[in-house]
Symmetry: C2
Subunit: 407 residues, 2 copies
């Protein structure tokens, strides 16, 4: 009898955002008149930049003529895009990354999940707590997580690094040595950012301990403070111990257009094997490249117009996040994030659990956010709000929250 | 020390088509004047259908306005596309597949590789020999293949089902019972098609033996004979033992546009677990959906204009394949395929090995094909040519082949 991967059966419940979507749908079905504002899932709401739109129209036209039609492209991405990334995201910041260390993909979610394929299932994985669920779930699927403990909400073989108020929501170095360390800065969900000194500490730790850092920099465009690196490779020697994930989702609004990339430096060798070569083998065997049209759109993000338009998008969401943070802080809430990040991390009032606050917020204020506990046990008692709504909705949501909770 | 997935180190050489591309590049670099015609990789050459182009332009415009912009879509695909697939690819053929049994993805290559995630690494896998390399390589990466034997060109734990001339290039039932059986009909690389009676035999075998069939139907649009099913689900009870992979690459020319889908019926249960639910969990955790623009393009394939235009594309490639087959047969070659398939399967002349013929063909006729041995040991002495070139190039390639090999 064919056997399934039993690790899947260990996964508790469903994916966090599917669970939220279901709850919201049920509420809306029961209350068809309700005007529900979502500051929940980290999805953008503004249209794509004009430069991207016109590049994609042009690419669609190319696909319509025999002379300019494109079939299979290089699985790793077209040179035009890999060159633009190397030039603008790295060289411009003084980081020397070669285009062939860049793998264009359909999403940082896919990459940060699939990257596990090239590593042994014996490795011990460390994650921040709270954490983007994909890191944990994909390791659970691969058999690296051990068993799920309903009582603690934790997996027996995952090293959790609590990110608590007392250390500014930054993780401390783990007590048990992990092989793989997931770091996401600016952080999802807490919005906390890591300074150069902070990242240096992690690179040093990884090199000393023979660990690899999976660095998720999907929110780097939101960095406003000078001392916060945009890439882990701004840290000396990080090329020998880190892989970086980037995305066009949160800067250029590609959540529904799908383009991202992963950087694996040549210097990253494990037991003599080139990690880049392993990933190249996976990428060429299990993936067939990002649509040509989409890659042309992504390339346009780096044109002068594209850069300006993208900056404006980011500024818009950033204003929302700042507004949420400042207004709720002024109203007496305990809030962090929202400075180098589109996310605001809210301490739930009156000792409510995250899901209790979710329900109250949904039913009394008709506002949707994301329960902190959905991101891990140390997220309990916290709540994530995002700046990705419209400015009007964001203001309206803030007023409603104040009206319900600040009497 | 972090450990890599050692299975990757067992993989011999590089991915077949990368190896061919490298050889061709070397030849072209050394002979810049050579007019090399490729009938090698199965890539289309005609532009996208006009209906697809106009649907994508419209979708790009939608992404440019706030009111119609789309962010994250459902990971499984938009209803508009899943409904169109269920209606046109299944219901119209008398097969009852519900839209929620359909998972839209970026490619059949990705899906047929990733599907292994939800199955135990203990399962024994059977493949046709020759075979599309992705099936074998992805199982080797997962640790299901055992070790690679350089001498035989075979993996120690894969069950090979030789497809030889004497049985019309169709596999015989395996002697050792496999858990997972990969079938691809119309076949890549041989171009052989399986009749209803043939597929019935396999469904019966799978049900009797508790095996699952991974059915790759990427070439179904090329079927011309009535007795050849387009879907495995045209066979009674196949829903209890099969998963089907489909693609828009070879019918509508989406090789560089990227859209495909996988069908997992509700009836497919293993040890009480719903395989569809497992795949849904994988799909929602490690994938974020196909670009909205591309899904609108795929939807347009099913409009009256899209259907007509797609049919014309297929007919064009089919004519090429038929021409290759008939002309080379008349010239004394031993050829098969090319009837329900864009692929022609050629026996190499004078007992040459597949790679010897590849080199001769490249250097003497400046024509590129795919060595049969690249698809498995039983492909040795064979060679794959495709109908995906232009009509002019195809005719020219045939003349050159005849001039070099038929003196």
């Amino acid at each position: 009898m064919v056997k399934i991967n039993e690790n899947y059966l260990k996964l508790p419940g469903s994916y966090l955002f599917s669970a939220i979507a279901r709850k919201v749908k049920e509420y809306k079905d029961a209350n068809p008149g309700a005007n529900v504002i979502s500051l929940g899932i980290g999805d953008v709401t503004l249209p794509l930049p004009a430069a991207v739109i016109s590049a994609m129209h042009k690419a669609v036209d190319e696909m319509a003529a025999k002379e300019t039609f494109r079939g299979y492209g290089p699985e790793q991405g077209y040179d035009f895009l890999r060159n633009a990334i190397a030039e603008n995201d790295y060289k411009a910041r003084g980081v020397d990354i070669s285009p062939d260390e860049i793998f264009v993909s359909d999403g940082a979610k896919s990459d940060s999940g699939n990257i596990g394929d090239i590593f042994s299932t014996d490795n011990v994985v460390a994650v921040c707590d709270p954490v983007y669920p994909v890191y944990v779930d994909t390791n659970a699927m691969a058999g690296r997580a051990g068993d799920y403990d309903e009582k603690t909400g934790m997996w027996t073989n995952i090293v959790y690094m609590p990110c608590l108020e007392e250390n500014g929501f930054l993780p401390k170095l783990p007590e048990r040595r992990p092989d793989i360390i997931y770091l996401c800065f600016p952080n999802n969900p807490s919005g906390a950012a890591a300074t150069k000194a902070e990242l240096k500490k992690w690179v040093g730790y990884a090199l000393e301990n023979g660990s690899v850092i999976f660095f998720d920099a999907a929110y780097e465009a939101y960095i406003t403070e000078d001392d916060v690196p945009h890439s882990i490779f701004e840290i000396e020697d990080a090329k020998r111990c880190a892989i970086e994930f980037r995305s066009f989702s949160k800067n250029a609004g590609f959540t529904g257009t799908r383009c991202a990339f992963t950087v694996i430096p040549d210097e990253l060798k494990l037991g003599g094997a080139s990690v880049k070569s392993l990933w190249n083998r996976r990428h060429t065997t299990k993936f067939n490249g990002v649509p040509y049209i989409v890659q042309r759109g992504a390339e346009a993000v780096y044109t002068p117009e594209g850069r300006e338009q993208t900056k404006a998008l980011v500024a818009y969401y950033q204003n929302n996040a700042r507004l949420i943070k400042n207004e709720l802080a002024a109203a007496g809430f305990s809030v962090s994030g929202g400075v180098n990040s589109p996310y605001v991390w809210l301490k739930t009032p009156d000792g409510m659990t995250s899901w209790e606050f979710f329900d109250e917020l949904l039913t009394k204020a008709n506002v949707v956010g994301t329960p902190g506990s959905g991101f891990g046990p140390s997220g309990e008692g916290y709540f994530r709000l995002t700046g990705f709504g419209s400015a009007e909705n964001t203001r309206e949501a803030i007023e409603r929250i104040k009206a319900v909770f600040c009497k």
